[in-house]
Chain length 204, copies 2
């Protein structure tokens, strides 16, 4: 297959997901090594939790302490800084809307915004869960603050995030990160090795 | 450190866990490559679920279909046969008790029993969830059937499994497989790569 014809890797994530943060620093390089682009799809994991009956990891006995330990250990292994923000978890509505508003204007800029937002949240431990914090990240990328804030309050953008979240769940997405390679689903940051293997081998 | 002094890798699993089956075929080789032995610890995952609020994977919307697909995909990747038994999930009480009864007599035999039990359950898709089925596996390893059946009904063995399960959960175990390397916890079959890395590097 010509690499130009290959479908993009689809990368679903929630801005309140530490494992999504870790994956955001790896997924583009993994895809690029196999001639693929990445389609970033922020969505609201909390809506999926209503379907699956799951709760945020840190609120669960036994699983919470393990994952708090594992967030930091996994980041350390990748050489990435890690700090849990407060509050945590939080609703990723504002940065997700900002992403889709930016994507309509400049896809590459939207990805830079997502990465910078994740770095601020889990690299620096700072909240990015409202319009002001989202605008602060966007301004550092040269985006007009007032236009962005108007954008994330626009009904069409609200509908867009709702539709993306519903489409993700309908497709089977229930975690973050959640990745599709040519329709094959992979859940979890610790599956990135298999994502790369699937890209290299075309399945097994 | 002299390899003879290194602590064993601790391998917690539930006999009703497909990912435990996959790990059972890899953990001894991983440990051996780093001069370690493995301490096999069957326990009752359902008791941990009462603490964490989790339910069996296949009973969960979205997560169930994904994991059914992933069980088979993960086995295929390792070149292992895979068939889900019926009923599934089941309570692993009988094979777990048999394991501990055998372990008191012959540690190596107990591991062979565990592997053969897992192969029958998830390699062949046959139930091993009562005394008769457990005895059938054990007999094929040269164990006296009547003695084993008496053993798994012995109050001391019942107490042993209960104590092992309580100790596991108290320690933080909540899944299968769940592995400790020198006190460091790793949850999940997809963390075996990190288990090996931790053994090789002594941490990161």
């Amino acid at each position: 297959m010509l690499s130009g014809m290959a479908d993009p890797v689809e990368f679903y994530f929630d801005f309140s997901s530490p494992y999504g943060y870790l994956a955001s620093h790896q997924i583009e390089a993994i895809a690029a090594r196999h001639g693929r682009e990445v389609r970033w799809r922020p969505y609201l994991l909390g809506v999926a939790f209503k379907e699956t009956g799951q709760k945020p990891l840190v609120e669960q006995p036994l699983r919470g302490p393990y994952h708090q330990h594992d967030f930091a250990r996994s980041a350390r292994r990748l050489g990435l800084p890690f700090r849990l923000p407060s509050p945590f978890p939080f609703a990723g509505v504002a940065p997700s809307r900002a992403f889709y508003w930016l994507e309509e204007r400049d896809g590459a800029l939207a990805k830079r915004f997502a990465l910078k937002t994740y770095d601020r949240i889990f690299g620096e431990g700072r909240s990015v869960n409202d319009a002001a914090a989202v605008a602060d990240v966007a301004v550092s990328l040269g985006v007009d603050s007032a236009a962005l804030v108007a954008g994330i309050n626009d009904a069409a953008i609200k509908d867009k995030l709702r539709a993306e979240t519903e489409a993700a769940i309908k497709r089977g997405v229930f975690g973050s990160p959640f990745i599709y390679v040519d329709g094959e689903p992979f859940w979890g940051h610790d599956r990135l090795g298999q994502v790369e293997e699937w890209l290299a081998r075309g399945g097994w």
